[in-house]
């Protein structure tokens, strides 16, 4: 993944977006950071996630609520580590593409700064490295990965910036995505008057799996989120994971009504299992075969509206 081949769809969307259009193009699909560590860890993380889930499965069946509650911090921690190591923080993804194209362009910081000023809306405690450009934490991080010869103080601040960004994403995920997913679970038929702890905890797990990376990578970029709500994002590791989590949980509801009297059929164990498996599958597929592909509702739906 060091230098990802630009998918036709990606280049298309980048090229076909004139800068002056009112509907600014949303961010292109995201790649794993082009470092050895990121690449390696991006494989380790899903594997570790699944193994840990499998290992703790008996405990989960035994007492879903306390097990989910206990595992939640670990999941959050693991996922924060994953996004920090493997993914570009908000506002830097487009710059990554640019940087990949012109690695030594002197104008990169300025261009990136402009784009960050317009697109990024996360309020951050920016750290000044160069004096003339106020960089967002994510930017520092990205520059850090590109330019490994920076000073140690820059390294420290870069890491600090990533921590801040990931913690912000975590907060947003917890505060927004968890309630939204809880409501969705209930709308899909989860008990309304009972099992609140199960619902909220399941939603929290799903929120971290699906939304943390999205927020970390895209911030609160309106265009990206519009695409997310419309399920129009091009396939990548982040969107694949998010979509996979939801589809997996959806499919996870299938065994619940069966009368096999197995303890693992209890709500929400199967949903959670589906979500984890779906996340891993979605991430893997999103970065490989489905990279850059979009969910389509109708064949040639753009043409259709004219009729």
């Amino acid at each position: 993944m060091a230098s990802p081949p630009p998918s036709p769809l990606t280049t298309n969307s980048a090229a076909s977006a004139p800068p002056d259009t009112s509907n600014k193009p949303a961010a292109p699909p995201v790649n794993i950071l082009p470092t050895q560590l990121a690449t390696t860890y991006s494989y380790i993380h899903p594997a570790a996630l699944l193994s840990a889930f499998a290992a703790r499965f008996p405990a989960l069946v035994n007492d879903p609520v306390s097990e989910m509650a206990q595992q939640l911090p670990f999941l959050a921690l693991a996922h924060v580590a994953y996004v920090m190591i493997c993914l570009p923080a908000a506002g830097t993804d487009s710059a990554t593409t640019t940087a990949a194209a012109t690695p030594t362009s002197p104008s990169t910081p300025t261009a990136a700064a402009t784009s960050s000023a317009s697109s990024a809306t996360t309020t951050t405690t920016g750290s000044t490295t160069n004096g003339n450009v106020i960089l967002r934490p994510g930017r520092v991080g990205r520059r850090r990965t590109k330019d490994s010869s920076s000073s140690s103080s820059s390294t420290a601040s870069a890491i600090r910036g990533r921590v801040v960004a990931s913690l912000l994403s975590l907060t947003l995920t917890t505060l927004l995505a968890t309630p939204v997913l809880s409501i969705l679970l209930i709308l899909f038929g989860a008990p309304f008057t009972t099992h609140h702890a199960q619902t909220v905890l399941c939603a929290a797990h799903m929120a971290i799996l699906s939304s943390l990376a999205l927020v970390y990578v895209h911030g609160v970029d309106g265009n990206v989120w519009k695409e997310v709500w419309g399920a129009k994002r091009p396939g990548d590791v982040v969107w694949g994971g998010a979509l996979g989590t939801c589809v997996g949980a959806w499919l996870g509801a299938v065994p619940v009504p069966l009368d096999w009297d197995r303890p693992w059929q209890a709500y929400p164990i199967t949903l959670l299992t589906g979500a984890y498996v779906g996340f891993v599958l979605g991430s893997v597929l999103g970065r490989s075969v489905l990279f850059g592909k979009r969910v389509r509702f109708e064949e040639g739906e753009d043409v259709k509206k004219v009729d």
């Binding site: 969705l184 709308l187 419309g230 399920a231 009504p257 969910v295 109708e298 259709k304």
Partner: protein, 1069 residues
């Protein structure tokens, strides 16, 4: 078109400017509407035109094609009826339940002999005062006899030789006990077995005529006879008895235990033993006459571990101990019976008809020593279950006569000889007399059954012969002196021959599925679905274009089928009544003919694969649910699954709405998607749980889980509906400025008034139940009936009239000069010179939809009246969800795109709300009492119609709404007169094709569900849960399909005629 119809205020009111001298000219901001169309001017305003004839031609064409379409739908209905009929004929083997009861005073003989006074007991000298009947659930015969290897290598299994007491007593003291194999009739489920063990008759699919409302046995049976004779009955153990015999048992001594927890081996058994042994104490002996003890431990051990397990051995040891204890405490007057109701297969399960499952054991014991053996070779109990077995129903006459009871009327069993032969084994007179009694009873039953069913079969004569032969030999017995044993034996045997022959006869009539007939039904249904798929989903031409050729080929080929069928039947090639063979061959012929027209016709078909996510979604919903019906769990939880599907659709609709280009579409689409999901979830709180859903379900439909009346707070629901629902409908009309004309009167006034009267009706109903008002029941009843009839008259009589004759829901303003009061400040037309007439039409954008929707309102009102208060709330939510769905379809551009999703989601909604109006896929959930809402006595055909409107109200309402999936906000298209071929250019025909396509898609859902439930029920016909789950679901699926077909033909598609004509009358064609 989407952006136009919902673009904002004023857009739905294109302004027509009409110069006095010039012809009509339209100025509108909707360019795509005007392409290839003549100027859209209300016909009424266009004045006398020379094109009248042309327009009339279009109108006639529409009417004609409309009739043709109804013909096609009628043919589809015919296929469904034939398919369901043939499957049902082979599957639902019915036995009529006769209400007759045997009476102690009347002997079963023809000559109406009364009981001679010397007899102590009814009909026959009784042997015992009291009885203890122990049922050890799933006591297989080989559990009770010593292990005898049938093959060299076979070795004893763990269950062998752990219950020796039965065999020991039968061998050591043959006058005190006997042990026999006891063969059950499938299905080997406890409920069905208990029916057989107490009534003496065979189980069939439906006991026609029995009380649908519950499982209680209303046939004559042993328990009822004992109860009628004043015996005090005690039941311990399995609570199935209480479902079958509610209120028969002494409430103080009876202890019932839940039978469903198969993982618990001991609670029931310990409870039975702890309560049984004290009752056997001499000081308690006067408190009871008959004890029924039902142990479940052996059955549960089998289900959980299988028979070859240590737990089974332990359980059998325990049973052995218990029986020995009972024997020790038993007194002389009491008969002890121990039996299994069925066996178990090698895995410990049961329900089917394999030998292991039907081989149970029967053991009778008494301290008096009155039992005997008829011959030396029968001295010992048989070692194998298939030697010298007795059918389980033999228990009924045996026990009845031993206890001095009359034999239950429906009994088909025979007395067990060992019980009547006497300890010396020579009392053939006794055996003969019990056999004669039993035969006479069977004869009497047979006569009654034939009389009420109508004689039909030729087998009757042979059983008649056997009976008269036996009677003749009995007549020949010497009246004076003792006839020889051999004579008595032969007379007895001839009676027994008659009994066994009749049993065989009934078994062949009642207990065999007619598989070829079932397959014929399934074949017709499948072919119907395949044709429907191609007709509705993949025809390249318009449906209306092939109507003529389709009807011709269907008519010709089915006529040929009728003739061939009649010929085959008359000439005796097939053993079928002429009507049946004609119908079957007509269906087959029409299928062939239609396949030719549809598949090989000029228009051609494409592969019916969905082309969009919506299409795939529709297919997924239908297919997964159909597959799910193979599982009893998914059948039980159908309501939750439907909610899951509907939420899925709602969420995807929201996602899809986010993709829309126009902001208005996006906002409206997302809003209605969220609304759709939330409304569905709110409706899901109204539920009536079926037994199998417990304990994971809480009923909210009535005041409590054990009541069938509404709680006082629920009476507020109708008022809320009356308050909110018309406003909701109005808001959807107002969205397209269509709240004009008939709509204001009908929705604002008529609908609201009807709903309000409905609320009053249900308050009076509640007042009647709770006795809140100082009015007599009769007064309340007549007031209620009057109110209900008023609402129905409003909904169906006035409503239909209004629907047929009202104008479209638009308002047309003609004003002089530049003033444009209706355009709300937006000048749509360019500044016009003075002296021009401005015509403003409000409600233009949804003229078809709002006009047709009036019919939905009518039906909604009528159906709401017939629902319980909670169901009224649910129906209100349904109407709201339907409207929301229509908006979703519109904002996502699915109205004109031939998408299957609209009709399919409507079908899902209909099925979902079936469960939300207090119904389940069980016969017991039918709300029969609703027949008395508008009537004070049962009147045909109105009472069944009322019950159907109550039961399938949701499916009916959604069926009525089906045409809206292509009519809602459909842009008004008029024919282009300049075109050379007016035939292909009649937009009303396009509309009709779209309506037919939607209707067929809607039918497809229910037809697929019906086929699936049919096939699963046929495939699982020996399944444990057949009677409880699969067969009721099959019946529901078939009934729904029929109802939906008929409603679509008579009301929905027919209604399109009136609404289209009404639109055409104003706007032209």
């Amino acid at each position: 078109m989407v952006s136009v119809t919902s673009g904002g205020p004023g857009l739905e009111s294109p302004t027509l400017s009409d110069s006095r001298n010039a012809g009509p000219a339209l100025s509108s901001r909707s360019p795509e509407r005007n392409e290839h169309r003549k100027p859209q001017v209300p016909k009424a305003l266009a004045g006398g035109s020379a094109q009248d004839k042309y327009i009339q031609g279009l109108e006639t064409e529409f009417k004609f094609k409309h009739l043709g379409v109804l013909g096609v739908l009628g043919w589809i209905l015919f296929l469904h009826v034939v398919g369901i009929f043939f499957f049902t004929k082979g599957f639902l083997l019915t036995r009529m339940v006769l209400e007759n009861k045997s009476s102690c005073d009347v002997l079963p003989f023809d000559e109406a002999a009364t009981v001679s006074k010397k007899v102590d007991g009814c009909w026959h000298q009784k042997s015992f005062e009291k009885a203890v009947v122990i049922i050890i659930d799933a006591l297989r015969y080989d559990f009770t006899v010593p292990f005898a290897p049938s093959a060299e290598a076979e070795s004893a299994q763990l269950f062998h030789d752990h219950l020796p007491v039965l065999y020991e007593t039968a061998v050591n003291t043959p006058e005190n006990a006997f042990l026999l194999p006891f063969i059950a009739d499938p299905p080997t489920t406890t409920l069905q077995r208990l029916k057989g063990l107490t009534t003496g008759t065979l189980p069939t699919f439906i006991d026609a005529g029995s009380n649908f409302a519950g499982t209680a046995i209303d046939e004559d049976n042993l328990v009822a006879q004992l109860r009628a004779a004043g015996k005090n009955l005690v039941q311990l153990g399995d609570d199935t008895w209480h479902a079958l015999f509610p209120g028969y048992f002494d409430p103080n001594l009876t202890r019932a235990f839940d039978s469903f927890n198969v993982w618990d081996l001991h609670t029931v058994d310990n409870g039975v033993t702890a309560n049984l042994l004290p009752l056997l104490h001499p000081e308690n002996s006067t408190k009871w006459d008959v004890i029924f003890g039902h142990y479940l431990g052996v059955d549960h051990a089998g289900h959980r571990y299988g028979p070859n397990h240590q737990a089974m051995a332990a359980k059998l040891d325990e049973m052995d101990r218990v029986i020995r204890e009972i024997i020790a405490k038993l007194d002389d007057k009491t008969l002890l019976v121990v039996m299994g109701d069925h066996g178990m297969d090698s895995k410990g399960d049961h329900g089917g008809e394999s030998n292991d499952e039907v081989d149970a054991a029967l053991w009778m014991y008494s301290k008096r020593g009155i039992f005997g053996r008829t011959s030396a070779e029968t001295a010992k109990p048989p070692m194998l279950a298939r030697d010298r077995f007795v059918p389980q129903i033999d228990l009924v006459p045996t026990l009845s006569l031993l206890l001095g009871m009359p034999i239950p009327f429906n009994n088909l069993g025979s007395p067990i000889e060992e019980a009547f032969i006497g300890p010396k084994g020579n009392d053939w007179k006794n055996v003969m007399s019990v056999n004669r009694l039993t035969s006479a009873q069977i004869k009497r039953y047979q006569r009654e059954y034939t009389a009420s069913r109508g004689a039909e079969d030729s087998h009757q004569s042979q059983s008649e012969d056997l009976w008269s032969a036996a009677e003749n030999s009995w007549q020949k017995l010497p009246r004076i002196g003792r006839p020889s044993q051999a004579t008595l034996l032969s007379v007895s045997e001839s009676y027994k021959d008659y009994q066994r022959y009749t049993l065989q006869l009934c078994r062949s009539l009642w207990a065999k599925f007619d598989v070829p007939s079932m397959l014929q039904g399934v074949a017709v249904l499948s072919a119907g679905i395949v044709l429907l798929v191609f007709y509705a989903r993949s025809l390249k031409a318009d449906q209306t274009d092939i109507t003529k050729s389709l009807l011709t080929s269907v008519g010709t080929s089915s006529a040929v089928g009728v003739v061939v069928g009649a010929f085959l039947s008359f000439s005796g090639f097939v053993e079928m009544p002429v009507v049946e063979s004609s119908a079957l061959l007509a269906a087959a012929g029409s299928i062939v003919g239609a396949s030719w027209t549809i598949l090989a016709g000029s228009a051609g078909v494409s592969l019916p694969l969905p082309s969009s996510l919506w299409g795939w979604l529709a297919v997924t919903f239908t297919i997964t649910q159909s597959i799910g019906f193979a599982s009893n769990s998914y059948t039980i939880w159908e309501d939750e699954i439907l909610l899951f599907f509907l939420s899925t659709f709602g969420v995807l609709a929201g996602v899809s709405s986010m993709r829309q280009k126009s902001t208005a579409d996006r906002v409206l689409g997302v809003y209605h998607s969220i609304l759709f999901v939330i409304l569905g979830r709110i409706a899901s709180f109204s539920r009536l749980c079926r037994e199998e859903q417990m304990p994971f379900c809480r009923s909210t439909y009535y005041a409590s889980a054990t009541s069938s009346t509404s709680a006082p707070w629920q009476l507020a629901v109708p008022f809320l509906v009356a308050l909110i629902l018309p406003t909701v409908v109005r808001s959807f009309y107002a969205g397209s400025k269509s709240y004009e004309g008939a709509a204001t009167l009908w929705i604002g006034l008529g609908f609201r008034l009807g709903l309000f009267i409905t609320s009053v009706f249900w308050v009076l109903e509640g007042a009647d139940d709770g006795e809140w008002l100082p009015l007599s029941k009769e007064t309340l009843k007549s007031v209620r009936v009057f109110l209900a009839q008023l609402v129905l008259a409003l909904a169906f009589a006035a409503g239909t009239t209004a629907f047929i004759y009202s104008k479209p829901c638009i308002s047309i303003n003609v004003s002089q000069g530049n003033t444009e009061p209706e355009s709300k400040g937006k000048n749509l037309a360019p500044p016009q010179p003075a002296g021009r007439t401005t015509v403003t039409i409000l409600g233009f954008g949804n003229v078809h939809g709002t006009r047709y929707f009036l019919l939905v309102v009518n039906f909604c009102l009528g159906i709401i009246l017939l629902q319980k208060p909670m169901g009224q709330g649910a129906m209100g939510l349904l109407l709201w969800q339907i409207l929301s769905l229509l908006e979703i379809l519109d904002t996502n551009g699915l109205v004109l795109g031939n998408s299957a999703i609209g009709p399919i989601v409507l079908a899902l909604l209909g099925s979902f709300y079936y469960f939300k109006t207090g119904h389940q896929a069980t016969l017991s959930s039918i709300q029969w009492e609703t027949a008395f809402i508008p009537l004070s006595s049962v009147q045909y055909p109105w009472s069944p119609i009322v019950v159907i409107l109550n039961t399938f109200g949701a499916q009916i309402l959604t069926a009525i709404a089906v045409p809206l999936t292509v009519l809602w906000k459909r842009p008004l298209q008029l024919s282009d007169q300049s075109s050379s071929s007016p035939k292909s250019n009649n937009p009303s025909i396009r509309l009709l094709s779209d309506v037919v396509r939607a209707a067929c898609t809607y039918i497809l859902y229910f037809a697929t569900i019906n086929l699936a439930t049919t096939m699963w029920a046929g495939h699982l016909r020996r399944h444990l849960m057949l009677y409880r789950i699969f067969s009721p679901r099959f019946m529901m699926g078939a009934a729904v399909l029929g109802v939906v077909d008929i409603v679509l033909i008579i009301f929905s598609v027919a209604g399109v005629r009136w609404s289209t004509l009404s639109v055409g009358e104003i706007f032209g064609w």
